[in-house]
Amino acid sequence: MIQPHDSVIVRTLGHIVIPVAQLFGVYVLVFGQHGPGGGFVGGVVLAASMILSILIFGINAPNSVLARKMLHGDGLGLLIFAGVGGLCLIGGGQFLNYSHLQIPSLDEASQHYVGILLTQLGVAVDVAVTGVSIAVSLSFNEDEISLDEVTHG
């Protein structure tokens, strides 16, 4: 069991660093098509920000609501990924052949753009969920996490 941290410095810095880390994670995810980055890296950064919030504020704090919600998301990213691939299959192409992505009113360049972005989103969600799940299952017993209700403390 990890106790919430009671140092003012750590908590204040947490308030500053965690949003920045999350923003950076999203940036890395979206920027992945133009430079270094992508779904996996973005997902790791997002997971790290959530693990940080668990370490500082505790799993049951209101600030860690995203991390708690993440634990329900097993396989969601995979379904996004398979869904995009499936849309390409329906369009008559191979799996993940974005030229055949069946999303209306997109030209071919945007098809590729949207297709890659969505699959990367799927990867990011899966990586983030896995990272948080590993951290939580290493540090908490199941009964210590109130998954359904937010406790204020």
Partner: protein
């Protein structure tokens, strides 16, 4: 749409496995039917796939439209199609059986069904994969699900599941190491490219050691003697409902993976520093066949006995595919298909006996034969097939391996096949002498074998005999696919 069959065969179980918790959140009782339905759909897809491959020849599947050297490729050829079909038939029958003989507590567990579907999808991936790294990924998908399934019932199974995990991960690391060697030496991991670039590089130590690492890694996965020690313990303690599935698919598919690598990379007569590679592999097969058979003979636990029987058959198949001629190769592959079906049948029988009679060892088996005619019938059919008598597929597989060995003039291999047949006969005699023994106690009430169990036992016996009756056409089909170079 027909060109997308391979990826559909993979996606159907994978997506269903992942969305199983969502779909059954309200109704847990849907899980088994959903799983059986998914495997049923896969069976239809794999039959269609076989027909498409027969009509159009091998199909390269390029993910995302990127062709092989850049993109990820799958190869959908006749061997892949027929092995996939076998795996689907066997999985469907074993899972119908698994619905009846399920350990208490498991039937309500959603992760259990998810794991089964993910393992099946991993197996499909291994068979289709046309590059070594892709193969590694699916090997791990299937193996990780397999480790969890072995320990699914908890208790002692967990210990052996952990041991399986350690050894399996070690095997996977060795495979990855070997793959790195080949990549450094050739700059490609695509099997077709490797087949072009590798033969002239076989003198290089890096390539030779890479192939050795890959072989060692896969040997652990396929439980080739002396790297078999995880298998009997794991299968003895795994839940009875999944052992037929595990026993009939996991080791066989690892062997198929090796056969693909061996067939495309190691041409007959090739020598690495004066060691003829194929002869070496064949002799490892001889060892496995003889030692596995002997170890099976001295077991007293039914499941362990069958597990060692399976280990000795892995040796037989390795002999067949390493003889360096098409007769032996096709015979080995045909025997592999048979072995998948026979292993499923054996573990279904052992599981049923344990579930209904509480019989684990040979001693406990006394009098079982009098109470359950369906079980006895299935046992007789599978025994005939394991020993290798004519009406069943086992005979034709062994026969062609022997013909291939005679053609290659490897008399040690002939001896090994015949000797392992005698060993098999030996341990089945042990089983039968207990099976038909006078019961220890007064005749208990007749065993109520439920309908689904009868269907699965009947279906597996019918498939064993059907493989024998259709052996000629299947063998010719395999022979053609080998001679046309599409393995």
């Amino acid at each position: 749409m027909s060109s997308n069959l391979p990826v559909l065969l993979f996606l159907v179980p994978f997506v269903m496995g992942v969305s199983m918790p969502l779909l059954t959140a309200k109704r847990r009782s849907w899980c088994p039917n959903l799983m059986l339905g998914t495997v049923g759909v896969m069976l239809l897809l794999s039959i269609t796939n076989l027909r498409v491959v027969l009509a159009e020849g091998p199909i390269d599947y390029a993910f995302g439209g990127w062709a092989a050297p850049i993109g990820i490729a799958w190869l959908n050829d006749s061997i892949a199609a027929i092995v996939i079909l076998t795996i689907n038939v066997v999985s469907l029958i074993s899972l119908i059986y698994g619905r009846v003989v399920v350990t208490t507590g498991l039937e309500k567990s959603v992760p259990y069904y998810t794991l089964i579907l993910i393992m099946v999808s991993g197996l499909v991936g291994i068979i289709f994969a046309a590059d070594l790294f892709n193969l590694f990924v699916f090997l791990e998908v299937a193996a990780l699900a397999g480790y969890a399934l072995v320990g699914a019932a908890g208790g002692k199974g967990l210990v052996y599941a952990f041991r399986y995990l350690l050894l399996g991960s070690f095997g996977a690391s060795l495979y990855l190491l070997g793959l790195g060697h080949l990549y450094v030496a050739t700059g490609t991991l695509n099997m077709a490219d490797l087949a072009i670039r590798l033969p002239e590089l076989l003198t290089s130590t890096a390539v030779a050691s890479g192939l050795i690492y890959i072989f060692l890694g896969l040997s652990i996965k396929m439980a080739l003697i002396p790297l078999h020690s995880w298998l009997p313990d794991a299968y003895e303690n795994a839940p009875s409902s999944v052992t037929p599935l595990l026993a009939s698919t996991v080791t066989k598919v690892a062997l198929v993976a090796w056969v693909r690598i061996e067939y495309s990379l190691i041409t007959p007569g090739v020598e690495v520093s004066h060691v003829p590679v194929l002869v070496l592999l064949e002799e490892l097969g001889v060892l496995a066949a003889l030692i596995g058979g002997s170890l099976a003979l001295i077991q007293t636990d039914l499941k362990r006995m069958f597990a060692y029987g399976g280990i000795s058959h892995i040796g037989l198949i390795l002999i067949g595919v390493s003889l360096g001629n098409v007769t032996g190769f096709a015979g080995g592959m045909f025997y592999l298909i048979n072995d998948a079906v026979m292993q499923a049948a054996l573990f279904m029988i052992a599981g049923t006996v344990l579930h209904y009679h509480g019989a684990k060892t040979l001693e406990d088996l006394r009098g079982v034969g009098r109470q359950s005619p369906w079980l006895t019938g299935a046992l007789i059919v599978v025994a005939v097939a394991m020993v290798g008598l004519p009406p069943t597929g086992g005979f034709f597989g062994k026969w062609n391996i022997i013909l291939g060995a005679l053609e290659a003039q490897h008399y040690l291999a002939v001896f090994a096949v015949v000797a392992s047949t005698l060993l098999t006969l030996g341990y089945f005699l042990k089983i039968f002498s207990c099976w038909f023994h006078q019961p220890q106690f007064a005749e208990s009430e007749s065993l109520e074998v439920s309908g689904a169990l009868r269907i699965s036992l009947g279906a597996i016996s019918v498939s064993i005999i059907a493989l024998g009756l259709m052996s000629d056409s299947i063998f010719q089909f395999l022979l053609e696919s080998v001679t046309s170079g599409g393995a």
